[in-house]
Amino acid sequence: MILKRLLTAPALYAVAGALLAAGLLLAFLYAPTDTSSMGFSQKIFYYHAPIAECALLAFGIAFVAAILYLRSNDPKYDVLGMVAIRLGLLFSLLVMATGMIWGRAAWGVWWAWEPRLTTFLIVCLLYTAYFVLRQTVEEESRRATFAALFAIIAFVDVPITFFATRFMPAGLHPVVFGRGGGMPGSDLLAFFVSMIGMTLLLIAMLRQELAVEHLKEDLYHLKNRIGA
């Protein structure tokens, strides 16, 4: 039964929530507070970075689903891709929001054309276009094919965009997250726990969304059968 599949999600949510809470506690109580210019505001990163990682993971899942769809023509991969991109977009918006708040705290401005932030802005625009594309195709298999093509092209373009943003002359704003993301005073354990928690949260959300979409589909077919 489909509703039963929804019930397994709470367990996953509980583990994710516990890990995220533990990560937060570690970040604020255990991890040393950085006394350099970044100061206390650096604490934002304990969730910001895992969310960014999850956003990219979601787009990666959509990329794999797109390839599988083109190979198999199985609609379930189309649904998976759509759901993954929807969640990736949600996470990307959170990355932008928290990134902007951090930028405000660290540099005193709400927006800086910093490579990672800029990349996420473009990513948001890009994957919003994915949904516009889906809206404009009626025939189901064609919509799935085009959506898959776009998911592939977009995912290939993301790292390219990130490299390209580094060509911009380094002007007022330094590239803060130097190579390897060396952040003074950061604590790897807190990061690691938050990252696992966030990834589990993404997986739980993905499963739930998938279950809802399948439920929708089943309902649709049921209605058609009753109507016939």
Partner: protein, 227 residues
């Protein structure tokens, strides 16, 4: 991929365009108008040196001009159901892609052959003849990227309900890397400055972009153009 078929499709597109010249004329007018508009938009005080802005102005103009051309190149095929005829021919889909891409590249190059000298005369204060070969290489590599990605996306958007409305929405965010690399390379060449980093890295980057998206188009064009 058949060489003869490639030439036939390309010739067909060129001949059709040269008969009416409507696309070339409108693209040309667009470029000139863009120049005038940019001039007024950026002249924020008396005697501004627009040299530093010219790279950006050029590439914004070219990308939008390319959009016009890309939309046209498939709208015509779709309008009279020409595409169905083309698909019925015993031609590889990939051959169609490369022929269309080359056609778009030629139109864009024609526009640039007019626009670049004009923009140079109007905006660029320093001579850059010594760096002309590297500039032309930047133009060629960026054009290839624009036309490879653009032709692939134009094929997809032509098959949707929104058609020419969809293309800019999907094309512009994806072409940002080319815009960044081409603009910073062009600005470096025009201004003669070194603060934009080494040119070689950008050329390699643009070439990589071209290769990646041509390979992507090669692998996916069958799906894009449909049955």
């Amino acid at each position: 991929m058949g060489g003869r078929q490639f030439v036939a499709i390309l010739r067909k597109d060129l001949i059709r365009e040269l008969r009416t010249k409507e696309m070339l004329i409108s693209m040309f007018l667009f470029v000139m108008l863009a120049m005038v508009i940019f001039h007024y938009a950026f002249t924020v005080k008396e005697s501004v040196d627009l040299t530093y802005f010219t790279g950006g102005m050029l590439w914004v103009t070219f990308i939008f001009a390319a959009l016009l051309g890309l939309n046209r190149s498939f709208a015509q095929e779709k309008d009279e159901n020409c595409l169905d005829g083309l698909l019925l021919c015993p031609v590889d889909r990939v051959t169609i892609f490369f022929a269309k891409m080359t056609g778009n590249l030629i139109f864009l190059a024609i526009i640039q052959a007019v626009a670049i000298p004009v923009f140079t005369v109007f905006f660029v204060k320093h001579g850059y003849y010594g760096r002309l070969p590297s500039f032309l290489l930047v133009v060629l590599l960026a054009d290839l990227g624009i036309c490879a990605l653009g032709t692939l996306l134009a094929t997809i958007s032509m098959n949707t309900r929104a058609r020419d409305l969809l293309l800019p929405i999907v094309f512009l965010p994806l072409i940002v890397p080319v815009l960044i690399a081409a603009t910073s390379a062009t600005t470096a060449i025009f201004s003669g400055g070194s603060e934009f980093g080494p040119l070689g890295a950008k050329l390699v980057f643009l070439a990589m972009f071209d290769i990646i998206f041509m390979v992507a188009a090669y692998g996916t064009y069958d799906f894009a153009i449909g049955e």
